[in-house]
Assembly symmetry: none
Homo-oligomer: 225 residues x 2
Amino acid sequence: MNLLIVEDEIRLADALGEIMKEQKYITDIVYNGTDGLYYAKNNCYDVIILDVMLPGMNGFDIVRELRASHIATPVILLTAKDDVRDKIAGLDNGADDYMTKPFVPEELLARIRALTRRQGDVILEEQNFLDLTLSLSTCDLICGSKSIHLSYKEFEIMKLLMANQKSVLSKDFLISKVWGSDSNAEDNNVEAYISFLRKKLAFLGSHVMISTIRKVGYRLEDASL
Amino acid sequence: MNLLIVEDEIRLADALGEIMKEQKYITDIVYNGTDGLYYAKNNCYDVIILDVMLPGMNGFDIVRELRASHIATPVILLTAKDDVRDKIAGLDNGADDYMTKPFVPEELLARIRALTRRQGDVILEEQNFLDLTLSLSTCDLICGSKSIHLSYKEFEIMKLLMANQKSVLSKDFLISKVWGSDSNAEDNNVEAYISFLRKKLAFLGSHVMISTIRKVGYRLEDASL
DNA sequence: ATTCTGTTTCAGATTCTTTTCAGTATGATA
DNA sequence: TATCATACTGAAAAGAATCTGAAACAGAAT
């Protein structure tokens, strides 16, 4: 796991760095806001820990700038001020969590774990959507006490649907991802697999349904709505 | 947005309910852990707010049970105890955030926003006009709590009308954009679709009307003017 | 060789979309 | 007002897209 720490109190920053190293987290540390923004924009971190009061550029500005650039990396803000208004401003500017100094390192670690647990498509062992869990290691689709095995192509399609929950995936997109962009698979291949998956969802009794948007594609939906 | 509040202090629970109502959040409130778990498992919430000390079943147990059932809904724990060990336990049991009572309601609201923002990290694109929203990904037309699906051509026409709010779009223009400039579609094709769309607007109860400018074309207008 | 599993192909059924048409309504103009 | 062109709309027909069961096929495992 990769972290970025942006903190101008050098001793605190380095102490945090040590703690992260113990957790086997790979950590970059920078001591001012300008560098912080630069690092955050040009690397891929799992979490960014950001002091609010910084020379160069403050923490709020950095989060806002990151979100404006569509960088969704979880951000934890750190501050000495225990002002509720500040907290709210921080969270509404796009931060995911907020901690007041001084704090116990273990709490920071717990909050990091909480944030990255949610993230996950990279390291994660499973992919979730409503009552469904897709085990990425065994290709099993699980719902409540039932589970069923997915073939490779079923699995790939389900994974894409779950990884892009809110968006509609076109047949062309699915073909290029699952069969390969140079393949000559036809739309009906996708349709057949969607049918297989629907049968398995029905078997599991899941609330999840695969809905068709004609001439556009497929996406997951909550059938109970 | 749908929330579940699990809190045994009835006055606090109801006060929170009021606050959520002001935000137009739809809220279920239950006053003990057993009900909390039941509600959480059998409904689809965007966030669950969970007191730790509860009759029946405590907050930690509920989160753990939910996560074991692969329900990933974000959970915010509330507690009177400001004990770091407790916080860590809560977060590691699967909670996403942790707040100590007493707290300022605005901070809770900000944390709810932070959690739900992450969820829908896909910025769904949409087109708006007055009380209408057209989802560009699903081709759904939404007004208040109602929504209705548009066929592809209905969608294309609606999109053009909404994208060119002030101007009058001629049938020829619509034909060239929707059917293609080389098509042999007739004016009546457009008329038929305008009729379909008007029916759907009526169904939605929208303030928006499609007005006809004879021999010129169509445009959107506010019917209540 | 046989079985098993996963994949592809095909064709009929189904569902939704689009077109067509006829009768009606509306507005402009003389 | 009478007439004509234009626009509206319900219903039916035609057309497309999608679904799905069954069968054919391929490759791996037994």
